[in-house]
């Protein structure tokens, strides 16, 4: 029996610590690098500049020889069949430029007679009798765009954004190069989409201010073109009200030492990746710079140079990762975190890269026609210390920020996973809760422990303890549906009450001490609180009605029509520049106070009561008044206990969930400007425009509330899921270490007085 108990006991103790181990094990993969492994090779015919692409299942890569032949070659010949397609190009033309759009598997070819041919590589999959996936590849001819005949095309791009389709080409070479764009129009009728007609082509060479175009790109919105010129500058041309205007020209690599070598887009098409001859890589994103009204490119990231320069670039179709390669090295990077995910030495010279739609496989075609297939295992590229704790310059924002926005509706969304605003939110709520709770709890504890009659104490203490077990969902509900609307218009009243209660109590105390002793003896010592209860009610009532008067005197703002309005809700934003929310920190602090006061009270009362009576008696015998005893003897002796009470109260407030979820406006609430402060509840659309400051009249989101709201929707073992686990681990560590410190302090104190 003994051994069974012992074994069971050990098991339970181990299991309890297993919690931390489990959470830790869920978090660890977030900090891992990408694993890249070579899995297979496929032999294609040798061509000087082949182009390659992969299907979704990485079973049937294709190879385009640069002219008219496109081959599909299976990775496992036992399952899939090789096939070959001849592209139906017009006779007597050659392909002079090409671009492969991996998002739509679209092959865009610029021809020697100035036309553009567009093909789409299509894959279809089915399961065969044995259950393995059979993939079939085919090529469909999308369209041939008859641009005005001219010189061979040097660069070509085409984008289809639904209603708007745009083609852009660079015709000719060197000084005679011309930049042409043409819109495509699709007539729509009741019977569906009709014929696509190419509009008139517009020559934009003049917009380049004397420079000659070399390379052209079209973002996915098909409303602008990005042009690289022979003088290593980038021109950003925008189609506004059917007229082209030059939005911006810039030089990504100023200085002559390292000229621009190439440009391309990142998934989502709002970031431009540029690299120099020396292998430096810089990313420029579209955002509205301060003082401007339109979105312009600005440098947001830079990556360490790839020694030997960058010859090949390939964006991922799943996230903001991209691969770059030259003759010796392959590197996989993640744009958001500016991190190098993997680096591989190559033993061959690649001529083209390809990646499947899920970014799970990478294919490198070498100059001898061999396609090297790599498996890329990088489940959490957007994670890492940088992502969680430092400022990151996200796409579309005008400066680096700490931000949390885990999910969104679009596929090319950049998850923002900074835990900093959540930690600050937690600390902010805790701060206001403690500001409110600590004075009340400590003063009450001192009174109960030192001044109150022991018989009354036996009743008062359990009452306070019951308050500790009030379900927090109840407090949260009261905070949001009762307190928040109640004090929304009465902030001045709250201010008045907060000031008046201690002031009047102190005044009464002062007046009381002036009374002759025989009058004072009428009130038994230790029952002062009984006198104060009706007085506090009276003050609260008075303060409540004093508020509107104060408001009329102090909190007056100018209305737009010039009249004066006495409304605190308008005065606060005007005076401080920070918004005023109905569900703000004041409400949270007050309600969280209900949860924290009993804890601080109970523990500090215990430590105050445990001060040895002998030293109290000794100081009383020396003639100290009862407050002097408390101040000079009891408080110093019990200080460690009180400190540990504060820390445990802090721990409770930091981890409080329901009050914060309900009282801080996790629900969709519009502020005065109609801006959504927090996203739809439960959909995980939280944004933190307010997280950078500690303003009391704002809402916030805390670590704990964030977990409660978002975890049910997070996919198992996704980055989002693991990041929420990281949040839980931070909370765990924070509270566990605080509580341990408090406990050690208390034990030391206990030993100290046992000796003394």
């Amino acid at each position: 029996m003994t051994s069974i108990i012992a074994f069971g006991g050990v098991c339970i103790v181990v299991a309890v610590f297993g919690i931390f181990a489990f959470i830790f094990s869920e978090v660890v993969p977030l900090f891992g690098k990408a694993r890249v492994e070579k899995t297979a090779t496929v032999q294609f015919p040798v061509t000087a500049d082949g182009l390659t692409g992969l299907d979704e299942w990485s079973q049937l890569p294709f190879h385009y020889d640069g002219q008219r032949t496109l081959r599909f070659q299976p990775v496992q010949p036992s399952i899939n069949q090789p096939s070959q397609v001849t592209l139906p190009l017009p006779d007597a033309v050659t392909v002079t430029s090409r671009r492969f759009d991996p998002e739509h598997n679209r092959l865009i070819l610029g021809l020697s007679d100035g036309q553009v041919a567009i093909y789409q590589v299509k894959y279809a999959s089915s399961a065969d009798a044995t259950g393995s996936t059979v993939v079939k590849g085919s090529v469909s001819s999308e369209r041939l765009l008859p641009l005005p005949p001219g010189q061979p095309l040097q660069s070509v791009d085409y984008k289809d954004a639904g209603d708007r389709k745009l083609v852009a080409v660079v015709q000719g070479q060197g000084a005679s190069a011309k930049l042409l764009v043409a819109s495509l129009r699709q007539s729509r009728s009741l019977l569906g989409a009709g014929q696509v007609k190419i509009g008139e082509s517009i020559d934009l060479t003049a917009k380049l201010e004397g420079q000659h175009p070399e390379h052209v790109l079209i973002p996915g919105t098909a409303d602008s073109v990005i042009v690289e010129t022979d003088r290593h500058e980038i021109f950003y041309l925008f189609l506004k009200n059917s007229a082209w205007e030059l939005r911006q020209r810039f030089r990504p690599f100023p200085g002559e030492s390292s000229p621009l070598a190439g440009i391309d887009l990142l998934l989502g098409d709002v970031s431009l990746v540029t690299w120099s001859d020396a292998g430096d890589l810089r990313i420029f994103s579209l955002f509205v710079p301060p003082g401007e009204t339109t979105r312009l490119f600005g440098q947001t990231k830079s990556f360490p140079a790839l020694p030997g320069g960058i010859l090949h670039y390939l964006p991922s179709q799943r996230n903001k990762s991209f691969a770059v390669a030259n003759d010796q090295l392959l590197r996989i990077c993640h744009a958001t975190t500016e991190g190098v995910r993997a680096s591989i030495k190559l033993s061959f010279r690649p001529v083209d890269l390809a990646m499947d739609a899920k970014s799970e496989h990478l294919a490198l075609l070498d100059n001898s026609g061999v396609l090297h297939l790599y498996q890329v295992d990088d489940p959490h590229p957007e994670a890492g210390f940088r992502a969680f704790f430092s400022r990151i310059w996200y796409e579309g924002s005008s400066k680096p920020k700490h931000e949390w926005q885990s999910t969104s509706g679009t596929d090319d969304f950049e998850p923002k996973l900074s835990l900093t605003p959540l930690i600050i939110g937690s600390l902010k709520g805790t701060l206001y809760a403690l500001l409110f709770a600590v004075p009340i709890a400590l003063l009450a504890a001192v009174f109960v422990a030192q001044f109150m009659h022991p018989d009354v104490k036996k009743v008062v203490k359990p009452v306070m303890e019951i308050m500790a077990s009030l379900p927090s969902v109840v407090l949260g509900f009261l905070a949001a549906l009762w307190l928040a609307p109640l004090i929304e218009t009465r902030v001045p009243s709250v201010i008045a009450i907060v000031i008046l209660i201690p002031l009047i109590s102190a005044l009464i105390g002062f007046g009381w001490s002036l009374l002759p002793v025989r009058h004072r003896n009428l009130l038994p010592k230790g029952s002062e609180y009984g006198v104060l209860i009706p007085i506090v009610i009276l003050i609260a009532w008075g303060g409540w009605h004093l508020g509107p008067i104060l408001e009329r005197v102090f909190f007056v703002t100018d209305a737009p029509d010039g009249s004066k309005i006495a409304d605190f809700r308008l005065w606060w934003p005007q005076f401080t520049g920070t918004p005023y929310d109905q569900r703000n920190c004041l409400v949270v602090g007050f309600m969280m106070g209900f949860a924290v006061i009993p804890i601080i009270f109970t523990i500090s009362e215990d430590s105050l009561s445990n001060v040895p009576p002998s030293i109290i008696s000794a100081s009383e015998a020396l003639g100290a008044s009862r407050w002097q005893v408390v101040r000079t003897v009891v408080l110093p002796v019990a200080s460690a206990g009180i400190f540990s009470a504060l820390m445990i109260g802090f721990g409770r407030a930091v981890g409080e969930t329901m009050i914060v979820v309900m009282a801080t406006g996790n629900t969709a609430i519009m502020d005065t400007n109609g801006r959504l402060i927090f996203g739809e509840f439960g959909l995980g659309h939280g944004q933190f425009p307010l997280a950078d400051h500690w303003d009391i009249f704002n809402g916030m989101r805390t670590l704990s509330a964030n977990i409660a709201v978002e975890l049910p929707e997070a996919a198992v073992h996704s980055t989002h899921y693991r990041t929420l686990f990281l949040g839980a681990m931070v909370l765990f560590l924070m509270t566990f270490s605080l509580n341990t410190a408090a406990e050690l302090l208390r034990q030391r104190l206990r030993e100290k007085f046992r000796i003394g």
Binding site: I5, G8, V14, V16, V474, L478, G509, W627
Partner: protein, 619 residues
């Protein structure tokens, strides 16, 4: 100042004393105010309030009438900066007015009356209705005007009949139809299993099962027909009524749950209405997105979860406490363990929820459903299993070899006893690996995958999570109770020749029982009020079936459940009409607080009882 009055010197610091008193007064007022607020709002929800009919003059001078319960009177700021008094009226008739509540400026009300002929009817749909009856219309064309003396009784009978019919439909749908559904589903699963097995004799079995499904389906259709007929009976009679605004509407009597004339009630009748509404609240199912009807499933869910939690936490907590207090050598390690266990109580509940979701739901749950996701290769698994058995044997041997007489005063006995926890930990770890990465186990519910059975939130996982969260409470309370058992009692038992376990079992544990119970009750109180971890481990806003019922296997540990605390959250924050839900939230809150306070009071009184007992037996 050369001559301070004497009394000033004696009472230095009186201001601070009064400040302390003010702090206490504030604290007490806050608790009192909060409880009073909830009590006042929660208890009066079901009390029938008079209905006021107001004549309101609009700005263009036209007058209209509207009636309802006055909910509150408040001041409103006007655009000009002044204030106006307005009343909030619960008007009901959501189907007619669109909203259940209306704010009316006090100034615009020209007259207020409380007519006795107004009826408040609780309906199955669209909430309450407030109206004057006009006539009853039957399907056969006969009518009964409201002025008829038999009118009231007839309406009463019709409503009663409707309630009866609805009960029958419910029992039909939940009982017989539900059973047939469950049988069909089980048979389908069996067919799926047979198909994946691919045995030769399966084909005949499958066709037999298919026939059975067809037969069941026929029965099912018959029952559906029956319930449809019952439903049609509900529409037999209509009540034509006139709202205060003058509009005439019809209400099917089968739609009315309960009705009364609020302005005509005597005190006795009011009490009767109150009790009826309270009973309905406590025993019936929610309607109208939880804003109407009762909360029985939530009460039941909370109850089952709390009991399950107590059943799970008690043995583990007590065993751990006995080990820590009676068996473990009281060295540095045990001290550290004790501090850590204590501090686990301070870890936020949401962290336990996260653990519960990751470990219980996605770990153990999906393992039960479909076996190990990444099983060990057989060789490795065999090695782990052998390692587990070896470690288990060694740790049991070690435990047997070093019995530690004298309980607390045991001292560590060198290397072997230091090794003990290490080997035990290793045994547990290897055991976990052996169990969870077994390559030969493919789950109990693999045929219903990818629909998870245990691999999603459920009452078992929620209870386990909360049990883990409240484990420290039980451990600490039990340890304290064990420590409070006088040494003399133990020594007496040992002197009589009892072994250590006999002493603990027969002497120590019984006298520590009140302390253990205190801990368990406190754990239940904490668990009952906790919501955050439940939100991610299995609570739902509306559960179709209870976790305990009369269908085999009676206890459905995998089912999702409803909970009072989550009900509050859901009603207050996710219901379409939070204003209409407010009374229900307050009532639910009152119930939850009562539950928690009663549990706490029980724990406190047990504790004082325990203290008194040991104070008495000190000598």
């Amino acid at each position: 100042m050369s001559s301070l009055p004497k009394y000033r010197q004696q009472t230095r610091g009186e201001i601070q004393v009064w400040l302390c008193a003010a702090g206490l007064a504030c604290g007490l007022l806050m608790i009192g105010g909060l409880l009073l607020l909830i009590l006042a709002n929660g208890a009066t929800v079901f009390w029938p309030k008079p209905i006021t009919e107001c004549t309101v003059r609009a700005q263009d001078g036209t007058e209209s009438k509207i009636s309802g319960e006055v909910v509150k009177t408040q001041l409103r700021r006007t655009a000009e900066g002044g204030t106006k008094t307005e009343i909030q009226l619960f008007t009901g008739n959501k189907d007619a007015y669109g909203l259940g509540f209306r704010f009316i400026d006090r100034e615009s009300i020209t007259s207020e009356t409380q007519p006795e002929d107004l009826i408040l009817a609780e309906r199955m749909e669209y909430g309450d209705a407030i109206f004057r009856p006009v006539q009853l219309k039957r399907k056969d064309g006969s009518t009964l005007p409201a002025t008829d003396p038999r009118f009231h009784q007839t309406l009463q009978d019709l409503v009663r009949e409707g309630n009866h019919l609805r009960d029958r439909i419910l029992s039909l749908e939940k009982g017989r139809i539900g059973k047939i559904n469950a049988r069909i589903k089980a048979t389908e699963l069996r067919i799926k299993e047979l198909q994946t097995d691919g045995k030769p004799q399966a084909a005949t079995e499958i066709s037999r099962l298919r026939n059975r499904i067809t037969a069941e389906q026929k029965k099912f259709d018959g029952l559906i027909q029956e319930s449809r007929q019952l439903r049609a009976q509900l529409d037999d009679a209509e009540l034509v009524c006139r709202l205060s605004s003058g509009e005439e509407r019809t209400v099917k009597t089968g739609n009315i749950v309960f009705f009364f004339e609020p302005n005509r009630l005597s005190l006795g009748q009011k009490i009767w209405v109150f009790l009826r509404r309270v009973t309905e609240f406590a025993t019936s199912e929610p309607r109208e997105a939880n804003t109407e009807g009762g909360i029985f499933p939530a009460i039941f869910g909370t109850f089952v979860m709390t009991i399950l939690l107590a059943l799970l936490v008690t043995p583990f907590g007590v065993i751990a406490a006995i080990y820590l207090r009676e068996y473990a050598s009281q060295g540095l390690l045990v001290r550290v363990v004790r501090i850590c266990v204590n501090n686990l109580a301070g870890v936020p509940s949401i962290v336990f929820g996260v653990f519960g979701l990751g470990f219980f739901v996605y770990g153990m749950g999906s393992f039960i459903d479909g076996g190990a996701k990444v099983p060990l290769p057989p060789v490795w698994w065999l090695a782990a299993a052998i390692g587990f058995i070896v470690c288990l044997t060694v740790s049991l041997l070690l435990a047997v070899q070093s019995p530690t007489p004298g309980g607390e005063s045991a001292r560590p006995r060198g290397f072997a006893s230091r090794l003990k926890p290490l080997v035990a930990t290793l045994a547990v770890a290897l055991g976990v690996v052996t169990l969870f990465q077994c390559p030969y186990f493919h789950g109990f519910f693999s045929s219903s995958l990818p629909t998870p059975t245990f691999g999603t939130g459920g009452i078992l996982w929620a209870s386990l999570t909360l049990a883990l969260m409240t484990l420290p409470v039980v451990i600490v309370a039990t340890e304290e109770a064990l420590a409070a058992v006088p040494r003399g009692v133990r020594e007496a038992a040992l002197a009589c020749g009892a072994s250590k376990w006999q002493t603990i079992q027969r002497v120590v544990l019984p006298s520590a029982l009140p302390g253990v119970m205190t801990g368990v009750i406190l754990a239940m109180a904490r668990g009952a009020g906790e919501v955050a971890p439940l939100m991610i481990t299995g609570v739902v806003k509306l559960a179709p079936s209870l976790p305990l019922d009369l269908d085999a296997p009676y206890i459905h540990a995998e089912r999702k459940f409803m909970h009072l605390g989550f009900h509050i959250y859901d009603l207050g924050f996710q219901s379409p009409d939070s204003e209409a839900a407010k009374p229900m939230v307050f009532a639910t809150t009152l119930l939850l607080i009562l539950l928690v306070v009663v549990l706490n009071l029980a724990a406190i009184s047990l504790r004082t009882h325990l203290r008194r007992k040991y104070q008495a037996s000190a000598f």
